[in-house]
Point group: C2
Chain length 341, copies 2
């Protein structure tokens, strides 16, 4: 099964494109999740336990409204080793609730190092498992077994600055069908400094990048983000699942709707993860531009507006569920408005 079939199959089944970002900030979580008085030592462990309990309540409340959770790793890394243990528990809770898990780490490195990130968050490389066991001595199998001790995510976010050999190691991992979402156009104010630069090929004078020739029917000018988009389109077009999408996804922020619409056209086989909805300013009509004419092709993340909805009233469970339902319905209505009659 292809990752995109798992993702968009869940979207169809649930009538939802909602991804709940798990960005747990202890300052925004109700104090009742933490011990009082707070311990003098091992404070990170006490915070990590509260984070897991809080995330668990949200995950339970939204499990049939959302299709995936997206735990953001910085929020766990700030708590050190107890934070990483909490991250693994949140991944496990998401899986048990029937949600896909997108680990948001924006990892990037080269060759064997990228392999280690991939093994850590997505699992062993599927295609290598046979040759691996043939070649393996006992210590190698032991190491693979140790790595497998942690629960794995279904997809990971990846930064493309190192080029394709920083992306390729994240493909085809794990026992199931994993995916990845590569940063193309991010939602932050300064994202254009690099991503919007107009490119005219490389300095060796090879004219337009060979990747750009793959963007059919578009005449440019092309940006750095377009070059990344073209490489993702090529990879996912070659690995299409039953629903017409591949496992190599893109991150395109809701805060740049014109770019979202354009990139949707440039990457017809690439699943898009859209952050920036809600608290960052993207509207339902903005993000609807990332969907195809079947109402598929994208999922939309919201973090703070769901996690911390309780601050406007209600319990964490009630408020997060209500916010997720409202988001699901707003997305569906906006997508329907754009579909051909």
């Amino acid at each position: 099964v292809n990752f995109s079939d798992r993702l968009f199959g869940a979207c169809r089944e649930k009538g939802s494109a909602v991804v709940v970002g798990i960005d747990p900030d202890p300052l925004l979580i109700p104090r009742s999740y933490f011990p009082d008085p707070f311990p003098e030592i091992n404070r990170r462990e006490a915070l990590a336990r509260g984070v897991v309990d809080f995330a668990g309540d949200v995950i339970h409340a939204v499990h049939d409204v959302a299709v995936a959770i997206k735990p953001q790793l910085a929020h766990f890394e700030r708590l050190g080793a107890p934070g990483i243990a909490a991250f693994e528990q949140v991944v496990q809770l998401g899986r048990e609730a029937g949600l896909l898990v997108i680990a948001d780490g924006k990892r990037n490195d080269i060759g064997s190092t990228a392999e280690m990130y991939a093994a850590a968050y997505l699992g062993a490389r599927r295609l290598q498992s046979k040759s691996r066991s043939e070649a393996a001595d006992s210590f190698e199998s032991l190491l693979a077994g140790a790595e497998a001790e942690g629960p794995k995510a279904d997809a990971l976010t990846v930064n493309p600055y190192l080029g394709w050999d920083g992306i390729e190691p994240f493909l085809d991992r794990g026992e199931g069908a994993t995916g990845l979402f590569v940063l193309v156009k991010t939602s932050n104010p300064s994202s254009g400094e690099l991503q919007d630069l107009e490119v005219i090929g490389d300095r060796d004078g090879r004219g337009a990048s060979p990747e750009l020739a793959l963007i059919g029917g578009s005449d440019g000018p092309y940006s750095v983000a377009d070059v990344v988009a073209a490489s993702l389109e090529r990879a996912s077009a070659a690995r299409q699942g039953a629903l017409g999408y591949g496992p190599v996804g893109a991150v395109v922020g809701a805060t740049y709707p014109a770019e979202l619409e354009r990139l949707r056209r440039l990457m017809p086989h690439v699943p898009i993860l859209i952050p920036g909805f809600g608290a960052q300013g993207g509207t339902a009509d903005d993000v609807a531009l990332g969907f195809d004419s079947n109402g598929l092709g994208a999922v939309v993340n919201a973090s703070r507006s769901i996690l911390y909805a309780y601050r406007a009233g209600g319990t964490v469970a009630e408020a997060s569920r209500r916010a997720a339902v409202e988001m699901r319905d707003a997305l569906s209505a906006a997508i329907d408005r754009r579909r051909p009659v």
Copy 2:
């Protein structure tokens, strides 16, 4: 004190520009560092303990030959929470040995999330500490205290794809003077796919990027890497220490010596971290192109050629020390060959 003064002060004092990359791969570490028979459960903890013991032996052996260690985070993350605990122990061992610590995580995210990565690896923001304590309620101080439980690094590697607001949160962290090394031109084969693209400004027709105007006396054509380089030069030129460099560094791979020479000229105030020496193919004469006429301005990382030198004979301590001494002397000789008489 400026981070670059701490770094290059150590280089002067030790007559060395050697950074030892701590990339611990259990498959390459002597089996004697791990229990035999190996436990059936908590295997990641047993591996992590061996990793710390091995790294500790190397750190102790090279402490007066190297100026810094560069623990690479993927190698620790692959072991989950026990791996992160091991990472913190390695950071602590490096500090206790009088070495600077460069955490190699290539982290990148936006706004408040980048702040969390910075707090996790470098410490609280220096300039905010006063206003923070004024505004703080008790829980906020408690959280800051919990984050401070882990030992912090002196610098972190950062990926620039998100633009300046993905870099700025990593400045001015911690109690001491921290630094960062931003990826400019990486050492891997496909690094040129993005980094070498020739740019002519942004798609809004604003001509050459404003950043490029800062590269004095250079006529282009300019690459994506040059745009990043220009932003780092601007930031470090505005924050110069006594030795003429700022805290905002660049990563430029030894495997592209012509680029290294060119980028050294474009970024006269930017400390350069040069990976790719040794196992990846960069020679001492290649990396010498990254140094200024005073023999400062850069440090050079080697990982496998030092860590696993024991495989050619000797104990881990003897072999890693010998490899570090040889590297130090080869670098010094190559730098001397390039200096004006």
